[in-house]
């Protein structure tokens, strides 16, 4: 294993019109950990996600994935280099089955082109069969195997989240970025999610987690970064961050951060 961090951000800045969404954020995400990204609404968390994953161009700064620059790459190229993401508002392909959704995630690992697909060559059929098998295994992995042939749009909310994570895992990432995965979940769904994310880390994956559920963040993350108004105001282990005066002030609360939202 290389010693370079899984993800290294260097002085990332981005403005939308007059609003400075990010003003020079630098941080390093060590490989194999769960890294939390928190902050009040409008702090720039999702913008940071979008910059890192290539959805939004940075005004300045650079971004390294396992030591290799990914700044300026288009979204699918970032994905191909091993950084996958989910969305704050789940974005599954509603008309497709859960299995097909995950198979789209495998797209880049396939070779079959138009001609091979039309002729159903032996290689194309083998690839397709392999896709089905691997997609099925991934759905089982996230606990949505029983819903493989259900139309994704009809699945319960918690299951949609899991399918979306399976689809992201299908792209073969080394870093998985989850944008508020617990949003809208009830307590038992959140518990299931916590176990799932922890097990992904145990498989060697680096997880970048934006989350508002403080209990989840503090219980799960190895390190936490706090953004406020586009700046990094604190970074470190959860226990240190939660007592940081700057963080408490950012959340405008007298109560400790750990009491939850």
């Amino acid at each position: 294993m290389s010693t370079s961090p899984a993800l290294h951000l260097d002085d990332i800045a981005r403005a939308f019109g007059g609003v400075q969404a990010l003003s020079g954020v630098s941080l390093s995400v060590p490989a194999g950990c769960i890294y939390g990204l928190i902050g009040p609404n409008g702090a720039g968390k999702t913008t940071l996600f979008n910059v890192v994953t290539g959805f939004v161009a940075a005004d300045r700064g650079r971004c390294l994935l396992h030591g290799l620059p990914i700044t300026g790459l288009s979204v699918h190229e970032v994905t191909a280099r091993g950084l996958a993401r989910t969305f704050q508002n789940i974005r599954l392909f509603g008309e497709m089955t859960a299995l097909e959704n995950v198979m789209v995630g495998l797209h880049r690992q396939g070779r079959a082109g138009v001609l091979a697909s039309v002729l159903r060559t032996a290689a194309a059929r083998r690839e397709q069969a392999g896709f089905v098998e691997r997609a099925m295994a991934l759905l089982d992995r996230v606990g949505a195997g029983a819903q493989a042939s259900r139309r994704a749009g009809t699945l319960a909310y918690g299951l949609q989240r899991r399918v979306e994570i399976a689809r992201a895992l299908a792209t073969g990432p080394r870093v998985l970025a989850l944008d508020e995965p617990a949003a809208g979940m009830n307590a038992s769904e959140t518990d299931g999610l916590r176990e799932l994310i922890a097990s992904l880390r145990n498989d060697g994956l680096t997880v970048l987690l934006i989350e508002h559920d403080m209990r989840l963040v503090m219980g799960l993350c190895d390190r936490v970064a706090v953004l406020d108004r586009g700046r990094l105001i604190a970074e470190g282990p959860p226990a240190a961050v939660r007592t940081d005066p700057a963080v408490i002030e950012a959340y405008l609360g007298h109560a400790p951060v750990g009491e939850g939202h």
């Binding site: 979204v75 996958a84 974005r91 008309e95 797209h107 396939g110 079959a112 138009v114 749009g153 949609q160």
Partner: protein, 360 residues
């Protein structure tokens, strides 16, 4: 005895037999004019299947699809008629039509990659008109297309020295020209059907449908949306190009007015009415929309016989019924008359949509 595979095989054989006998049956029962309708059904099925790749799979609303039909038709017309004195063989011209149309498809696709929905529809609509107006006006200063007069005396397709324009004697059986074209078109339509349905259930097809459902998420899955959209445009256009070349040979005459906006809209209606993204539905849509106007011709004499005079012109009736059919389908069968299985299941379950809806 009740082996489902055997039943399927028997069904398939019967279906094939019916398709092979169809022109003779139709000729005997309804008359020669209906064999011509049958030919056109197959031709339009090819067009609709091509457009289905662009609209049904990739979700790119294209209102100028007839342009590719025109490109194929004019390529054939110019290269196999006395206009330039060229008489290139069809086996050269059909692939050339497919390639040229695909190239034009990329030409249209490239600048519109960032557009979706209504905006894309407007640009493609304009593009279709540009092609038609070009064909209309390219008779001066150099007469390329013969302008509004169109190109006549286009050579019919010849296979092994046998022209399709003349009846063929085969084992004591006379096979008329329209029947010959039927078999030719049947072959190409079947090819289009197989290509479409195999692509649908492939890595490429799933990526297209992913783009249709949610382009942003598709990119996040590692799908190169730019290349795949261009591929959809090119492939769909190539279907249109081949159909155009066949049409030119079939009619023996092409002129710009055959390639107007109404044609594009008709082809789109076939896709939408039949069932977007479902190949069988699309073929059904083509069959209905080609046959319906022909059937309505009978209402003229019928009105005269029953009511003494023609109160509603059949051509007006056609538009009336057409609009009515679209409204009814939109109200009662939003996914088309014959939607793809996943959609049908979803509609039957009547689940409320959970995720963000992003179709067009």
């Amino acid at each position: 005895m009740r082996d489902p595979r055997r039943l399927r095989l028997v069904g398939l054989a019967l279906g094939l037999l019916a398709l092979l006998l169809a022109p003779f049956l139709v000729d005997a029962l309804l008359g020669r004019a209906w064999v011509r309708v049958l030919d056109l059904v197959l031709l339009y099925a090819m067009l609709a299947l091509g457009l289905n790749i662009v609209v049904g799979y990739a979700g790119l609303l294209d209102l100028g699809f007839v342009a590719f039909f025109a490109v194929g038709a004019y390529l054939y017309a110019l290269c196999a008629s006395p206009h330039f004195g060229l008489h290139l063989p069809f086996w050269l011209l059909l692939p050339a039509a497919a390639l040229l149309a695909a190239g034009v498809g990329v030409l249209l696709g490239a600048p519109t990659l960032r557009l979706r929905g209504d905006y894309l529809a407007i640009v493609t609509l304009g593009f279709g008109e540009i092609i038609r107006i070009f064909l209309n006006n390219l008779n001066a200063p150099v007469n390329l297309t013969n302008g509004p007069q169109g190109i006549t005396m286009i050579r019919p397709i010849e296979i092994a020295g046998v022209s399709m324009a003349r009846p063929v004697e085969l084992a004591g059986l006379t096979v008329p020209s329209l029947h010959l074209y039927y078999y030719l078109f049947l072959g190409f339509a079947a090819l289009a059907l197989v290509v479409s349905s195999r692509l649908e259930d492939s890595r490429i097809g799933r990526a297209w449908i992913a783009i249709r459902e949610d382009e942003v998420a598709a990119r996040a899955c590692g799908v190169n949306t730019r290349d795949l959209k261009l591929l959809a445009f090119a492939l769909g256009a190539s279907f249109g190009g081949v159909a155009g070349a066949l049409y030119a040979s079939f009619q023996g005459f092409v002129s710009p007015e055959s390639f107007g906006l109404t044609e594009s809209v008709m082809i789109l209606c076939m896709v939408v009415l039949g069932g977007m993204g479902h190949v069988r539905g699309v073929v059904l849509g083509a069959a209905l929309l080609v046959a319906l106007p022909e059937a309505l011709r009978y209402t003229g004499p019928l009105q005269r016989a029953l009511l003494g005079s023609v109160y509603i012109e059949p051509s007006d009736l056609r538009l009336l019924l057409f609009g009515l059919a679209l409204v009814l389908v939109a109200r009662w069968r939003p996914a088309g008359l014959w939607p793809s299985p996943v959609r049908r299941r979803e509609l039957a379950e009547r689940h409320a949509p959970g995720g963000p809806e992003s179709a067009q």
